[in-house]
């Protein structure tokens, strides 16, 4: 990230109670990671020398499972899907609300268990009778293929990779649509309704998606890595 962002973010994260070590590019990040073994890495996609994607790819290829949050540039769905495919644990679009980043960091750290690859890197997600095949962009429920809209699928994917976490409508909107706050509640609620219909889930007694009053939504069922 640029020097300005790096310096202010270091200060902010330190104030938030983290121990921070900042480096200026991907190559440095890789060598520092070897030495200091941090609990989590926040990395800009755009970096000099080695960009964030490539750094992440090399890290994962070397078998290093340190959680990574990517600071992404573009709002497009393909770009976001790519971040998860390459093994990022989460991502946040710039410019972002710094408190939101701290919330993301805490959530990822909570999810992480030593030695277990994060669910965000799984190719298939399974929760009971529900199965999401991420590469084929296919969802099956009780052995029947569900006909979801692309955004519905993206939303379900995000909820499942962040299960047991209350995610605000704004955050979901940012993830799935990339932008626009003024349509937030309507757009997200309509897609959640679509998912609930498809999954035969009820808002009052949810098996999968729970409404957290005033806060957002949460995928409550247990999600496992699929074969």
């Amino acid at each position: 990230m640029t020097q300005g962002v790096r310096a202010s973010l270091s200060a902010f994260l330190t104030r938030a109670g983290f121990q921070v070590e900042a480096v200026s590019d991907g190559a440095q990040a890789l060598s520092t990671l070897e030495k200091s073994k941090p609990d989590l890495v926040v990395m800009d996609v755009l970096m000099p020398r080695l960009d964030g994607r490539e750094t992440l790819r090399r890290l994962r290829q070397a078998g290093n499972l340190t959680p990574v949050i990517l600071l992404t540039q573009v709002g497009e769905a393909t770009e976001r899907a790519m971040a998860l495919e390459e093994g990022a644990d989460d991502y946040i679009n710039k410019p972002f609300e710094p408190h939101e980043l701290v919330a993301r960091i805490r959530a990822v750290l909570r999810r992480v268990r030593a030695g277990v690859p994060p669910i965000a890197t799984a190719w298939a997600l399974v929760s009971g009778e529900l199965r999401l095949d991420r590469r084929a962009r296919r969802v099956t429920f009780r052995d029947q293929e569900l006909n979801l809209t692309p955004k519905g699928l993206l939303l379900l994917e995000y909820l499942m990779t962040h299960s047991d976490e209350v995610i605000s409508r704004e955050r979901l909107l940012d993830v799935v649509w990339g932008w626009e706050k003024s349509v937030a509640s309507r757009a997200v609620d309509a897609r959640i309704a679509e998912l609930r219909r498809a999954l035969n889930d009820s808002a009052d007694a949810p098996t999968y998606i729970e409404t957290s009053a005033g806060a957002g939504y949460r995928f409550v069922a247990k999600v496992e890595r699929g074969a």
Binding site: P95, P98, H99, W177, K181, S182
Partner: protein, 310 residues
């Protein structure tokens, strides 16, 4: 133009050549002989028709070729322009992001004293707000603008989801929402003998379009001015019109009103980014539709959206 003159000279050439040869016979430079031609009338008519057709065909062929080339040149110019325009938007968005991120983080560094991040935007003009709050409000505004710029740039390339959308339901929803603050708001949508046909597209984007247009009408009219929202079929299109009795848009501003960051004189005192209508136009055009605005100063404005029906 020189090209055309050349073509005309070529066109006159056979006649000129014929004239010269005729004169040559007349003045005895060549020994003239008379050609007796005998054919049945039917065949003669067919032959002259054939000749005419061949001539017309050749003419048409060259005309079309010429036309196509001209079209290609102007398409390429337009493409080039819109690519450049998009790239500009992307770069602008991109370059604004890092400084904005820094600003936001530093504000958080400075101002954790009691301002939670989700607090509603403080009034930037209020004299009771602290300098920090005022800076925060302006950064929020800048942030929104960068968001909108990104949307605009994204929209040119993003894939548009294709589902059937019932515009009348969206309009119902929006009108109900806005009538809370605007009692003079009416909706006129056909339900008899059949209801408004659906359109195909991205429901969230279309909702955003309707919301922006209706929001504009509400913003730019006085509390007692009426607003009418109406929708109807027009052969292959659905037309949605938002008509208001607001101050109207001066004639010289009309051509620019949908450009990015343009703000009319009447709009300058009001909140807004100057990107709303640009966004409306971009979305409607990605759906294969058109936006037109008719307006008379002191009488009102009609924004019309035409979208292809299913």
């Amino acid at each position: 133009m020189r090209r055309y003159r050349l073509l005309f000279i070529v066109a006159v050439l056979p006649a000129a050549l014929g004239f010269l040869i005729w004169q040559a016979y007349r003045f005895g430079w060549l020994s003239d002989s008379i050609l007796y031609l005998r054919a049945n009338l039917g065949l003669l008519i067919f032959l002259s028709g054939l000749l005419l057709s061949i001539l017309l065909g050749i003419g048409l062929y060259f005309y079309l070729r010429f036309e196509r080339r001209a079209q290609r040149t102007s398409d390429a110019a337009l493409d080039h322009f819109s690519t450049e325009h998009r790239q500009f938007l992307q770069r602008l968005d991109h370059e604004l992001k890092n400084p904005l991120t820094t600003l936001q983080v530093e504000l958080a560094n400075l101002g954790d004293e009691g301002l939670p991040p989700t607090q509603p935007e403080p009034n930037p003009d209020s004299s009771t707000s602290s300098p920090l709050e005022r800076i925060r409000a302006q950064v929020t505004r800048l942030n929104d603008m960068v968001f909108q710029l990104r949307k605009l740039a994204d929209l040119q390339t993003a894939s548009i989801e294709q589902t059937t959308v019932k515009l009348d339901e969206l309009l119902d929803e929006l009108v109900t929402e806005f009538s809370a603050t605007k009692p003079n708001l009416t909706l006129n949508v056909p339900r008899m003998p059949w209801s408004l046909p659906e359109v195909r597209g991205d429901i969230d984007l279309l909702y955003l379009v309707l919301r922006n247009v209706l929001g504009n009408a509400v913003k730019f009219t006085g509390p007692n001015d009426a607003i009418q929202v109406r929708a109807f079929e027009d052969t292959n299109h659905i037309v949605v019109e938002v008509a208001d009795e607001g101050p109207g848009i001066p004639l010289d501003e009309l051509p620019h009103i949908m450009e990015e960051l343009y703000r009319g004189k009447n709009a300058r005192g009001l909140p807004g980014s100057g990107l709303g209508l640009a966004l409306v136009r971009a979305i409607v055009e990605r759906h294969g539709g058109q936006v037109t605005i008719r307006s008379r100063v002191d009488q009102g404005t009609v924004v019309a959206l035409r979208l292809p029906r299913v």
